[in-house]
């Protein structure tokens, strides 16, 4: 069976130790976690995690079931096959020494990136988008040389169903 990418929203109690329970579940059950992003929600007593995991069908089903078993997990939302918005933020420090800065700026503009900091031989760029978008930007920047980078991991929400009248 081939591996699939799954994106899950997990509403959890906003309590100490919850992140450890989730992370521990993935390691003790031998699940592959690609990214995990977590923060408070509209209800301050809950947090929402966005987890991206990879695995075959059986593993992905187990991930959802095992998450549901945790007492501190209030709801698991499998967004994979839904119409959802996915966003990730990356900060990338690009080597500009001896490079054509205008070309770099050109790509930054195409990808609607923001320059957050510059020094005489680097530019730090903020870029947001889905997985694919960030990856393609990174691919291009590799040619210039990435000095450092950090990614938040994706967060995602399902779109509201549009009313038709």
């Amino acid at each position: 069976m081939s591996d699939k990418r799954k994106i899950i929203g997990v509403i959890v109690e906003n309590q100490p130790g919850v992140l450890a329970r989730i992370a521990g579940l993935f390691s003790s059950r031998n699940f592959n976690i690609e990214s995990l992003a977590v923060g408070e929600t509209e209800d301050p007593t809950t947090s929402r995690m966005t987890i991206v995991a990879r695995g075959d069908e059986i593993v992905l089903e187990q991930i959802e079931k095992q998450l549901n078993k945790l007492i501190d997990v209030i709801k698991v939302i499998d967004m994979t096959d839904e119409d959802y918005v996915e966003r990730e933020l990356a900060l990338i420090k690009i080597n500009t020494e001896g490079k054509d800065k205008t070309e770099i700026m050109h790509y930054i503009n195409i990808f609607k990136g923001k320059v957050m900091d510059t020094s005489h031989d680097t530019i730090m760029v903020e870029i947001t988008g889905n997985d694919e978008r960030i990856n393609s930007f990174l691919n291009i920047m590799k040619d210039f040389g990435i000095k450092e980078m950090v990614r938040t991991g994706p967060v995602a929400l399902i779109r509201e169903k549009k009313k038709r009248d």
């Binding site: 959890v12 109690e13 100490p16 130790g17 450890a20 329970r21 521990g24 579940l25 003790s28 059986i58 089903e61 187990q62 079931k65 095992q66 549901n68 078993k69 945790l70 007492i71 501190d72 997990v73 209030i74 709801k75």
Partner: protein
């Protein structure tokens, strides 16, 4: 009211009568409160592991929640094996642990251990109580979590200042757990599909596990078996859910299961799994397991379904309710030919052993224990050969009377579990079937049994070996008995006497009954040293990872 007092009041509200525990520095305030406590009895153990297994044996034999108590740090970590044992076999226990002052947590304080961190993967849930006022709700939640859905252990870590704190006490009526709603009702559509499959099947087998005992579904499962005339096999954990002499019972399946159970499963065209989880000791090679069968899987834990094996009809919910619905809907079936075939296997390949000569055979000891207790004893086992012989040769009639560490396979479980079972069943005979290896892992609890006069009987099947490991070495490692010969240098009779218990020994077959009689007529704990044949093996045996068809057999008479 002080935190310690609040805790005891909450436990009383939950119906707790007995706690197995051991004191220590940070739980002093609690023990001080217990000193003047009249309603709850504290059984002082000799090692915290014993306390956890006792709570477990108490829970399995009574169906109530078992409670154990230990201090912080080493006290708490000593509970870990017992907690993991309970977790693997879905046993509701509450483990109360002391913790250092909240202001000291994280400072590597004296006797500090992060027990909620350590136990996270082996509990159904755990709590670190941060405020005295949180105790009542946490206790309410913990008992609810431990005992409902798929039961399991809950650890409650109590810092010393939380036990000392003084607040108003009020016990909540209900748990406040928005993320936990066990699902008991089976999906109607799935139940209908199951009924259709059952009515279509020609060679059905019902395969039941510990979930049937937990759910109290024995009567329903037997009714189903009788209505559709399907043979019933149990896992190790399911033993007792159907009486041993029921004509449709075909014994245990799996690695040391009966040949007829394994053959039946392999030939079946429908497997009805109820409260069982397709453990590797049951399935052997999953790819060749029940190759012709459609599978219906009924389980309260949705994660157990589809984890190991692909299932045709999954039904999540309580076994008792679901099976009852199926019984009501399904048409009567005869399956004459199929039952004839199964019964033929039963006749041709009975569980047996060579009982010639003077030497004591372990199977013989177990048969005699059954005979002399009229099958009414609560049996606990250790782990290894003793456990498998007990499963094969002790004929169990009722649920909750065969108590064994199935999932984790914890040596040293049986004796403290027997004490716990005895505490919960004062009038009953409780027998621990042990090996000379396992019994030494929690032998210190003899002091507990003597002090409170829990009249537990221990039958040590003493072959001088770590027998099951030796058996594997004989079969799969060219008889290279690496560190499995433990010598018969321990004098178990003297050891029993040193603890103030009764010690007995039998070295010849003719002495077995006499010694058992003496043990049973003695009102107190007894350790019996049965010197059994040294290299007896457990047969039949499916090698680990092999197909269930591939059963090894010893030289039997």
């Amino acid at each position: 009211m002080k935190g310690s007092k609040i805790l005891l009041e909450c436990l009383k509200k939950e119906g707790v009568e007995i706690i197995f525990g051991y004191p220590g520095g940070v739980v002093l305030p609690l023990f001080d409160e217990i000193y003047s406590e009249k309603q709850i009895k504290l059984v002082l153990v000799r090692h915290e592991q014993g306390a956890a297994h006792m709570a477990d044996g108490y829970a399995r034999s009574t169906g109530k929640v078992g409670v154990c108590l230990a201090t912080s740090g080493p006290g708490a970590t000593n509970l870990v094996t017992g907690i993991a044992t309970a977790y693997m076999d879905s046993v509701p226990i509450i483990a109360l642990t002391g913790q250092v002052l909240t202001s000291h947590i994280g400072n590597d304080a004296f006797q500090e251990a992060d027990i909620t961190g350590i136990t996270r993967p082996i509990v159904k849930h755990n709590y670190l109580v941060r405020k005295t006022k949180d105790i009542p709700q946490i206790i309410k939640n913990s008992f609810y979590i431990a005992s409902t859905g798929r039961p399991g252990p809950v650890v409650i870590d109590l810092p010393k200042d939380v036990l000392i704190g003084d607040v108003d006490f009020q016990y909540p009526d209900a748990p406040n757990l928005r993320g936990y709603k066990p699902n008991y009702e089976g999906n109607k559509l799935q139940i209908k599909k199951a009924v259709e499959l059952i009515e279509k099947a020609q060679r059905p087998v019902i395969y039941i596990g510990g979930g049937v005992i937990i759910s109290g579904a024995s009567a329903e499962v037997i009714a189903l078996a009788e209505k559709i005339n399907a043979p019933v096999t149990t896992t190790l954990m399911g033993i007792g859910s159907i009486p041993w002499n029921h004509p449709l019972y075909i014994g245990m399946l799996g690695m040391h299961g009966t040949k007829y159970a394994n053959y039946s499963v392999q030939e079946s065209d429908l497997l009805i799994a109820i409260g069982a989880r397709f453990d590797d000791r049951v399935t052997g090679d999953v790819k060749t397991f029940a190759p012709h069968a459609d599978i219906i899987h009924i389980d309260i834990d949705s994660a157990s379904i589809g984890k190991i094996i692909k299932v045709d009809v999954p039904i999540v919910g309580d076994a008792k309710r679901i099976v009852k619905e199926i019984v009501d809907l399904v048409k009567k079936k005869e399956h004459k030919e199929w039952l004839e075939k199964v019964n033929k296997w039963k006749q041709d390949f009975p569980l047996t052993y060579n009982n010639e000569g003077e030497v004591i055979k372990p199977q013989y000891v177990i048969e005699k224990i059954h005979e002399l207790t009229k099958g009414e004893a609560i049996i606990t086992t250790e782990v290894g050969q003793n456990q498998m012989w007990a499963a094969q040769f002790y004929k169990v009639s009722k649920p909750r009377t065969f108590i064994t560490s199935g999932g984790l396979g914890t040596m040293g479980y049986g004796f403290p579990a027997a004490i716990g079972a005895q505490a919960g069943n004062p009038g009953k005979i409780v027998f621990d079937i042990a090996g000379d290896g396992s019994i030494q892992m929690n032998i210190q609890e003899l002091a507990t049994a003597v002090k409170y006069n829990f009249p537990v009987k221990v039958a040590i099947l003493n072959n001088g070996y770590l027998g099951m490991v030796r058996q594997w070495q004989e079969l799969f490692f060219g008889k290279r008995y690496s560190h499995t010969y433990i010598e018969d240098s321990v004098d178990f009779v003297k050891l029993a006497e040193a603890y103030g218990a009764k010690g007995l020994r039998a070295t010849k077959k003719e002495e077995v009954v006499k010694v058992l009689d003496e043990a049973l007529s003695y009102n107190g704990p007894v350790l019996i040293d049965f010197r059994i044949s040294k290299e007896e093996n457990v047969w039949p045996m499916v090698p680990a990872g092999a197909s269930l068809n591939n059963m090894l057999e010893g030289e039997l008479a």
